[in-house]
Symmetry: C2
Subunit: 123 residues, 2 copies
Amino acid sequence: MKWNFSNDRAIYLQIIEQLSLAIVSGALAPGDRLLSVRELAAEAGVNPNTMQKALSEMEQTGLVHSSRTAGRFVTESRDDILKAKAEIVRERTEEFIHHMNALGFSEKEVFEIIKEIGSEYFE
Amino acid sequence: MKWNFSNDRAIYLQIIEQLSLAIVSGALAPGDRLLSVRELAAEAGVNPNTMQKALSEMEQTGLVHSSRTAGRFVTESRDDILKAKAEIVRERTEEFIHHMNALGFSEKEVFEIIKEIGSEYFE
DNA sequence: ATAATTGTATTAGTTAATTAATACAGTAGT
DNA sequence: ACTACTGTATTAATTAACTAATACAATTAT
């Protein structure tokens, strides 16, 4: 897994975001075992404590769970994953729309902008 | 002006963002005089030093400039404001599209999602 | 059995953001 | 002249995030 951090937000929050995205996007499958805290920390280039903090906080979302000595796993509940995905979609979309609305763009104009800028992303 | 801060990002960065948005959206007109650092700090509920840091950094963008004892003003250059607006639109849109693409949505699906979630925002 | 790996806990040091409390020099209005 | 206000500078204290270096108890693999 590839990690990408900006310096304008807490790293552990970005870890939670990126790991959640990997799960809800299907890059990590239900029941998949994660790398160990130490391995993930090395992979992401952060301190093990920082990775542990992120993973530990993520337990609350239900997307991952840990079994003491066997490791940490993606939830087996596809339903929970779908719910988390829906929530992320809603949050991101609302934030974007709110912003574009504040900038004075109509829905129609937003579509035009996406068509133009999105031509590089959407094949 | 109404301020709104979350605790997951540095306050001075959020000040820059919100003030920039106010300018490029036209809430603040070219040449408008801003409230003093102390007044803005009181209005936003932050320390004057934090407001000063935000405003001082914002000088670099060219959207505001200060004249030592007279106060601080929005740039008179409508062109600079338009350029800043275009940049903000591009950044926000790319970020959103990138996210939705990572979640597996096509351009068509993104439009559907915006139509549904955006119905509360766009008139 | 025993060696290695797991998540977790603890203590300490560093850095950046924020608040706090002043201070100063220049200008506008009176 | 003088008062009030401007942006700016400085020094200090506090807090949260991050890193560092270990340690431990439980389980898996050999």
